[in-house]
Each structure stands twice: as C-alpha cells, then as structure tokens.
Symmetry: C2
Subunit: 347 residues, 2 copies
C-alpha cells in the first residue's frame, strides 16, 4: 500500500515549533496535536493487541478502532488544512481497517442482544449465551423460542468466527502494515499545508455541525416524538430492504454526530461536557444495534426448512427489535429537544 | 326461564306516582326512570332487529347489547334498592345474552384489525377484507403476509359465522324470550324495594367509583407511562396464557369504568361531559381489541402444517398487536392523569 511509502508533498510543514498567537491555540497546532495524540494511541493499542491473547484482545481492538475513527474524522473535517491526497488515502485505509475490525464485535453484540431479547420474551427460554442447552419447555411457542435462539446463535457465531479470521488476516496483511506506517508518520510529523496555521479550526467544525443540523432536520422527528407511532414496523413484512432504507437517514445522523464530537475534541472540548450529544449518540447506537438485530432475525427466518414455531418466534423477535428501533428514535428526539441552545457545549 | 314468570315480591312498589322532594330527583324515581328508558330501548332495538335483514341487523344488535349492558349495570350498582333475587337473575340472563350477541361483532372487528395491520406491515400484501385475492408478491415475507392474512380470514370468518348462528339460535330460544319478558316487566314496572325512594343514588355510584379507583391504583401505571417499556411482549413467547394474565387487570378496569359511566348516566350525568372518562374507555377498548387480535394471531400460528413464512408473518403480527396493547396502556395512563380532579364530571 502506498500510504506509508509516500513522501509528504512539498508545501507541508510540521507545526510543532510554531508559537501560539495571543494565547489562542493556533489552528494547525491544535489539529496536529490531536492527530499526534490519536496516532500515538493507535500505535499503543496496536502494540497491546499484538501482545494480547485472543481473550484479552477485545479491549485493545476497541481502542484501535476508536483511534482510527478519530484520526479518520479529523482528516475528513479538517481536510483543507492537510495534504489532501495523502490524508484521503489514509482515510480510505483507516475506514477499511475499522470496518474489518468492527464486524466481529458487531456480531457478538448482536447475538447478545437477540438472546437477551428471547430471554425476555420467553422466561423459560434460552439463557444468555447458551440457548441450545435449555430443553424445550411446554407449549409450541417456547420450543420455538429455544429453537430460534439456537438458530441465531449458530448463524451469528459462525459469522463472528469468520469475521475474527478476517480481522486476524487483515492485521497480518501488508495493507495493514502500510496503514500502521501511515499512522506512525502522523505520530511524528503531521502533513499540514504550509498555510494551515493561519486558519482557525472553528469554521471547519461549524461546517460539520451545520451538516449534522441539516441531517437531523430531515429526520421525521415529530412522528418519532409520538410514542407507539408504529413507524419502525411499517412495511416490515414487505420487500426485504424496506426497514433498512427507512433506517438509513438515522444511521447517517449517527455518523455525523460522531464526526461532530471528534471535531469538538480537536477543538479541545471534552465530549463528556455535552450530555445531550452523548445521549443522542447512545440513542443512535441503540438504533443501529436494534436495526441490525432485527435484520438478523428476519434473515434467520429465511433459513430453509425451519419449523413454523421457530419462524413464529423469529417473527416476534424481529418485531420486538423493530420496536426497539422505534424506541431509540423516540429517545433520540427527546434528548435532541431537551436543550436546543446547547449552552453547555461551548467551552 | 323463570325471570318473566316471577311475580315481583311483596315490598316492591312502582315509583312512578311519587313526588320529588325539594326539586331533587328522588333516588328510586331516577333509577326507575333510567331502567324504564333502557328497557324501552331494549325492546325497540329487539323489534328493529327482528324486522331487519341480516345486513341491516348489526346496528339494532349493537343497540340491544348497549341497552342490555346498561340495564345490567344499573341492576348491579343499585342492587340494594331493588328486589335482589329478581334483579340478580335478570342480570345473569342479560350477561348471557350480551355475551352471545357480542361474539359475532368481536370476530368481525378482530378480522378487520388484523387484516388492517397486515396491510400496514406489507404494502403489497392483502387489502382489507380480501386477503386471499392478492397474488403473492416478491420475497418470502410478503408471501407470508398474504398467507397469514388468508389463514386469519379463514379462521375468523368461520368463528364469526358460528357466532352468528349461535346468536340467531339464542334470539329464537325460550331462554331469550324469558329475558325479553323480564325486560318488558322492567319497562312498565320496576321492582324497587319499598324503602328505595328514601335512599339517594349517590352513595351507590360513589361505591362503584371507589372500586374503579382501587382497580386503577393497582395497575402498573408508572411503567405504562414510560413509552416503549416492552412490558406487553414480556414472556410473549412463554406459556400460552402469559400475556392474557397480564391483561386481565386492565380488562377489569374497563368493565368498572363502564359501570361507573352507567352509574353516572343513572344519576343524570351525560357521559359525553367527561372527556377524560370517554378517552380512558376508548383506550381500554383498544387494549381489549388488540389483546384479542394478538391472541388470534398466536392461535393461528399453532395451525398444523403452515409454512414457515406464514408463521413468521403471524409472529410479527402478534408482536405488532401486543405493542398496540402497550400503546393503549400508555394512552390510558396519559388520559387518566390529565385531570385528576375530574371537575367536569360533577354536574
């Protein structure tokens, strides 16, 4: 991969030696510091991941992904301040990496969520994590819940195992080594444009915030604010992709919200200060998780030759998770409305 | 049936000739007037029902049941003012009659509700009332929705037809003629106790209201007030009767609310004046309907040899209706909290 091998183009200057003007952090310096910090964190997590057993590797993998997302976010938001080609390429590669690493975790948490939901739906049904071990109870439906749990566990465990192999393969690939080298460059010498330090960071961050605001404004928040609006299950038995297309704008807001949070971090704002943004992000994480879980239940129901009782349980489970989607939207709009002036966020 | 043949016991006096004291309606007189009105309405609806074709019979049947419920409610609430044996017996027979007449209507509206829900869940799925006529569309799930609609239509139409026959049979039976004769007695001469006119009606109505208040207080209203609490689907895949047992206290409140409304009517309060009680009643009607529809979907899923796609659609439908149950509880608690002083109700 060319990322690491590429020499920073002419015009880029390391910012480290510059002196801040009038006590305000110079734009380029703040950005470079943030990128260096995150790159260092990435390399630390990578080292820790390499030294961990499979059981211990989950935490460093999370840290690695968090740092990758933050680097990628800063490269995107403050793109005009950076060497564009170099950072675009690193961003693409970081997206590939965090996507690859995220999959294993996503399947694991989807399994937990679905088995947890089955447990709630069927008290004598599958316990968390060992659905197959509980003998079928009285009544066809509880048998169905147990069988549905076993089927989901089988399918998601297989998907997770495959994702684990793919992640291991990725971490050993030359493509990954190129990414790591690129991040290592970032840790020592950020490829800022020559005129970067003259620009303040705020307009770029404000741009992200404006895009976030527009995306939120396009959401059906009034409808989401009416509890039990039954929107999330609308057309839930229609064409297979119907619920997913309805979820997409919410997923988009989730990504923009994260980008906005990272831009705030770059500006030196602690994200913990803005409880509203945190709550909104948590609601959209839940939205994303429930949406994925509902799709997994629907997809398990398309397994050939399953018993009707299993299919019935998967239908109930699908609808349950679609209602979780709706609940997450309700939670999001409630959090979002709470403090529209966002007085807390500006430091 | 002995109702009609029974001669009012000694101690009963017709109240018609009594003079109201100080402009206030005498208790016995108000009660007798209400019972006479409802008995007259019962007989009018019965006559209309006999003269109607099958298509036109639905409206008089509703009126017949409404009058039967009101008579029964008044006999129950103001029991101490009436000849107890006579009114208990008429009440039992009225309950049998309205139960028998209600079934056909319940199956019809349950079918409408479920086909409507399937239509919402599957845009290319079954249209209202003719699920079987739409050809199966793309994707297993839409086929499933169409098949689920056809199955439910078959089962509920059969149940409805049977209920219709049973109702016709009941209306031609000597048991029914005895009830009608009992109501005819009521229309001319209410079997009040000799000392009834001395008692005010208010304490009896207050007693019903107190029972209603206690029953509402025992409901999990705080939980119901949290949108998307997922309570209604709790154990939804467990033992078959799990959701029904959770619904019972709400059904009980529905009946007490109705009894309370009828007691208000007897006291001369127009029920339309209390929007809060009307709204609460509507929410609990919706609760009852959704609960029955959810049970019908679950029961259809236990039909032997159905396709997995059909069972899946029925699972989604069941969960959808259980969420309607939850939505109705949310609506009830919102209405109930709205005006706790009930200033509007006292005339």
């Amino acid at each position: 991969m060319p990322v690491a091998g590429k020499v920073p183009v002419a015009g880029e200057v390391p910012v480290a030696g510059k002196v801040p003007v009038a006590g305000e952090p110079v734009a380029g310096e703040a950005l470079a510091r943030y990128l260096r910090e995150q790159a260092t964190e990435f390399l630390r997590a990578l080292r820790q991941h390499r030294e961990s057993s499979t059981e211990e590797a989950a935490e460093p993998a999370l840290a690695l992904r968090a740092a990758a997302r933050r680097i990628s976010g800063a490269l995107h938001t403050f793109r005009p301040l950076l060497d564009a080609d170099w950072s675009d390429e690193l961003r693409t590669e970081l997206a590939w990496l965090s996507g690859t690493l995220a999959r294993e975790h996503a399947y694991a948490s989807r399994l937990d969520r679905l088995i947890g939901a089955l447990h709630r739906l069927s008290p004598s049904g599958p316990g968390p994590g060992r659905s197959g071990s509980v003998p079928a109870q009285h009544g066809g439906l509880t048998v169905g819940a147990a069988k549905a749990g076993a089927l989901i566990e089988r399918q998601l465990t297989l998907a997770r195992t495959r994702a684990h192999s793919t992640a291991l393969q990725a971490l050993g690939s030359s493509r990954f080594h190129a990414v790591a080298d690129g991040v290592a460059v970032l840790a020592s010498e950020v490829p800022l444009r020559r005129d970067a330090s003259g620009h303040p960071l705020a307009p770029f961050a404000a741009d992200v915030e404006a895009r976030l605001g527009e995306a939120v404004a396009a959401l059906p928040l009034v409808r989401a604010g009416h509890p039990y609006n039954a929107e999330a299950l609308l057309h839930g038995l229609g064409a297979d992709a119907a619920p997913e297309s309805q979820d997409a704008p919410w997923h988009q807001v989730r990504l923009l919200l994260r980008l906005h949070r990272y831009a705030q971090e770059t500006n030196g704002t602690e994200p913990g200060h803005d409880l509203r943004l945190l709550g909104a992000g948590q609601a959209l994480d839940r939205h994303r998780d429930a949406s994925g879980a509902a799709t997994a239940a629907a997809s398990a129901a398309r397994t050939p030759r399953i018993a009707p009782a299993t299919a019935y349980a998967l239908g109930v489970l699908h609808a349950d998770q679609r209602h979780e989607v709706e609940a997450a939207r309700f939670a999001f709009q409630a959090v979002w409305r709470r403090a529209p002036d966002r007085a807390v966020t500006t430091p």
